[in-house]
Symmetry: C2
Subunit: 342 residues, 2 copies
DNA sequence: TGTTAGCACTCTACAAGGTTGAGTGCTAAC
DNA sequence: GTTAGCACTCAACCTTGTAGAGTGCTAACA
C-alpha cells in the first residue's frame, strides 16, 4: 500500500495529466501542489512510483504520466465519489423535457448529453427486446395483395412490416392465424419463443402445412426485426478535440472501428452486474480500444436492468466527472424512459 | 472558347490534380502527357489559362491548380460521359440483394455504396412523406389506460405511437373517432391536410369539444412524425483520407456542420429538376461547403421524383466517376425501392 | 535517516540557416 | 509560333544550435 505522500504525488500526477495532457515533472508538482517538500524529494518518490508501476516515462528526460495501473489506483482509492451539482441535474432534466417527444429521441439525446458533458464518445444501448414479452400480432388491411403485419410487445414496442398476402389466403384466414398465434404466444418473452413452440402451434393448427410455413416465416421475420438491438452513438467529433487523436490515422482507424456497431454492442453486453463500471486501457478485452478507457453503467426499469450507457475515451479522461454523470444516468434514465411508456 | 491545345492542357491539369492533389507544373505536363510541345510552350498557354481564370497559382513558383471556373469547364466540356462497367453494376445489384431486407436498409446501403465507390461523403434524402397520402389510422388495444395509434400511408409507410387514452373516453369512442377521421381524410396527401379541414371535422362531429381536441392533437402529433424526413449519411470517415482535410480543425468544423442534418436536407431539396446536377465550390449557396463540390441526382418511383441522392467532397473530386455512379442511382434506385413496396 | 541543494546529463521543441528541386517569367534565337 | 536558356522564387527538407524541462546521483544537512 502506498503511503500518504506517494498517494498525494500520484494524485497530483493523474489530476494534472488529465487536465493538461502533458507529462508532469517533479518541479511542476512542487510548484502547483503544496506538498511541503522540494522537487528532489518528489523525484525520489516518483522513482519509487515508477518502480511500482503506477507511472511511466516516455523518454529519459520527460515528466511522468500515469500507467493503466496508476489510473486504476486513482479510480479505486484516490477519487472521492462526487455527485453532480443541483444545477447540472436540473439542466439535464430540462433538456430531456424540451428535446424528447419519442422514445428514440430519449436515447439520441442521452447520447448527446453524455458526450457534451464529458467531451467524449458516448454509447447508449437500447433495451434488448428479447428480454420483453410478446403481446400480440395483428394484420391490418392494406390492399388486395398486401397486408401490414404489426407486432406489439408488453413494453409498448411496436414493429410493423408490409408483406405480401400468401396466395390462396384470404384476409380472414390471416385473422384466424393471428388469433391462434396470439393465444399461444402472448406473454412469452422473445427469448422463450423457440422453434419448438412454433412447431407445436403448427401441429395444433389443422390447416395446410404450406400455409403455416408462410405464417411462421412472417413471424420469424418479425422476430428478426424485434431482436435487432440498436446502439446510439454520440460525440464522435469530440474525438478530434482530444490531443491523443492529433494523428489523423489514429482517428480514422478508431472511427472505422466505431462503425462496426455490433462489436461495440457486444462489449457493452458483457456487463451483467448492476452499477457503474470502469475499464481502463488494456483491461478492455477488445483490442481496438486498449488504449482507451470505458465507463459504463446499466439502467433499469422497474428494478430490472434493461440497457447500458457508456462513455468511451482516452485513458486520460476525467473519471470523476464521467462517473458522476453515468451514476446519474444509472439512477434516472429509467424514470425518463418510463414517461415514454416503453 | 478555348482552342484545342488549351483544352488539352486544362484537361491534363484537372486530371492530374484530381488524382495527385498536387499543383501541376509545365514540365510535369510535358512529361506525362504527350502533347508534342515543350514545357516552355505549355508555360505560355498556362499563363493564358490563368489570365482567363481557369487555373490559379498558390504562390509564385508553384504549379497550377484548377479554379472553380476550370472545374466547371472540365465538367461541362471536357468530361466525356462515362457509364459504369458491367462488373460494377452487377456488383452493386448483388450488394442490394444481399444486404437489404427493409426499406430503411436500402437507404442505408445506398449511402454506404456511394461513399465506398466515390471515397466521399454521400447523402440520401428519403422520400418526403407529405408527398404521399393518408390512408387510415387505427387504434390498437394495449392496456386499460393506453392505446397504440397506428397511421398508415398509401405508400405503405406505417408509424405508431403508444398514447394515453384521454380520460372519459372508451376504446369504442376511439374507434368511432378513427372511423370518422378516416372517412374524411383518406386519400388526401399530407400536404393537403390543413387545419381548416380538421376544424371541419370537428364541426361535423357532435361530440364534446375537449374530446375532439384530444383526437386532433393525436393526429397532429402523428403528422409531425410523418413529415419528419430522414437523411442518411455515409462515409464521413472517408473525409479523413482526403489530403485537403489534413487539418484537424477543418475536419472538425466540417463534421459539426454535417450534424446539422436539416441544413443539408434543405440544400438537397432545392433541386427540383430531374437528373444529375453538379455544383462546384462557391456555386454552392450554403457557405459551409463553398470549398466543396456536390453532385446530386434525383430518383423516381413510377416516373415521379421522390428523393435525392448526393455525393459531397472537395472540389478536387473524380467528377467522372461520381457522376456515373449517381447517373446509375438516378436510373435504378427507384426500381430497388419498388421491390420493398414503398 | 530522511530531506535537500547542486551538478552533470538527456532529450524535445523550436528557430535559424543552408540546400535542393520544381516551378515560373522573360528574352533571344530558331 | 516555338523553343532553349537563364535568372529568379518559393516550399520542403535537412542540419545545427540553443533553451528549457526534466532526470539521477552525490554529498551535505537537520
Amino acid at each position: 500500500m502506498l503511503d500518504k505522500r506517494k498517494r498525494s504525488i500520484l494524485q497530483a500526477i493523474v489530476d494534472d495529466y488529465i487536465s493538461t495532457a502533458e507529462p508532469i515533472g517533479s518541479r511542476t508538482i512542487a510548484r502547483k501542489h503544496d506538498l511541503g517538500v522540494s522537487p528532489a524529494t518528489i523525484r525520489n518518490e516518483m522513482a519509487d512510483l515508477e518502480l511500482l508501476g503506477y507511472i511511466e516515462q516516455l523518454h529519459t528526460s520527460s515528466g511522468r504520466i500515469p500507467s493503466a495501473k496508476g489510473y486504476r489506483f486513482y479510480v479505486d482509492s484516490l477519487l472521492s465519489p462526487t455527485q453532480m451539482s443541483e444545477r447540472e441535474i436540473s439542466l439535464i432534466k430540462n433538456w430531456y423535457q424540451e428535446k424528447t417527444r419519442h422514445v428514440e429521441e430519449v436515447f439520441q439525446e442521452t447520447a448527446k448529453i453524455l458526450s457534451k458533458i464529458t467531451s467524449n464518445i458516448s454509447l447508449v444501448l437500447v433495451p434488448q427486446v428479447n428480454q420483453c414479452a410478446f403481446k400480440y400480432l395483428k394484420f391490418l388491411p392494406f390492399d388486395d395483395c398486401r397486408t401490414i403485419l404489426v407486432v406489439v410487445t408488453d413494453t409498448g414496442f411496436v414493429e410493423n412490416k408490409v408483406i405480401d398476402i400468401p396466395t390462396g389466403l384470404s384476409f380472414n384466414d390471416l385473422q384466424r392465424i393471428a388469433e391462434h398465434i396470439n393465444r399461444r404466444l402472448s406473454g412469452l418473452s422473445f427469448e422463450d419463443i423457440e422453434l419448438s413452440i412454433l412447431r407445436e402451434i403448427q401441429n395444433e393448427m389443422l390447416i395446410d402445412v404450406d400455409l403455416f410455413e408462410t405464417a411462421l416465416g412472417i413471424l420469424k421475420q418479425a422476430l428478426v426485426v424485434e431482436k435487432n438491438e440498436r446502439l446510439y452513438l454520440g460525440g464522435t467529433t469530440q474525438l478530434l478535440s482530444q490531443p491523443e487523436f492529433k494523428n489523423i490515422e489514429k482517428v480514422k482507424s478508431f472511427l472505422d472501428m466505431l462503425e462496426e456497431e455490433h462489436l461495440l454492442a457486444n462489449i457493452l453486453q458483457k456487463q451483467k452486474n448492476d452499477g457503474v463500471i470502469v475499464t481502463i486501457g488494456d483491461e478492455n478485452k477488445y483490442s481496438g480500444i486498449q488504449d482507451c478507457s470505458m465507463v459504463q453503467a446499466t439502467y433499469r426499469i422497474d428494478g430490472q436492468v434493461v440497457g447500458t450507457v457508456a462513455v468511451l475515451g482516452p485513458t486520460r479522461m476525467d473519471y470523476g466527472k464521467v462517473m458522476s454523470v453515468l451514476e446519474f444516468m444509472h439512477n434516472h434514465l429509467g424514470e425518463v424512459l418510463k414517461k415514454y411508456k416503453i
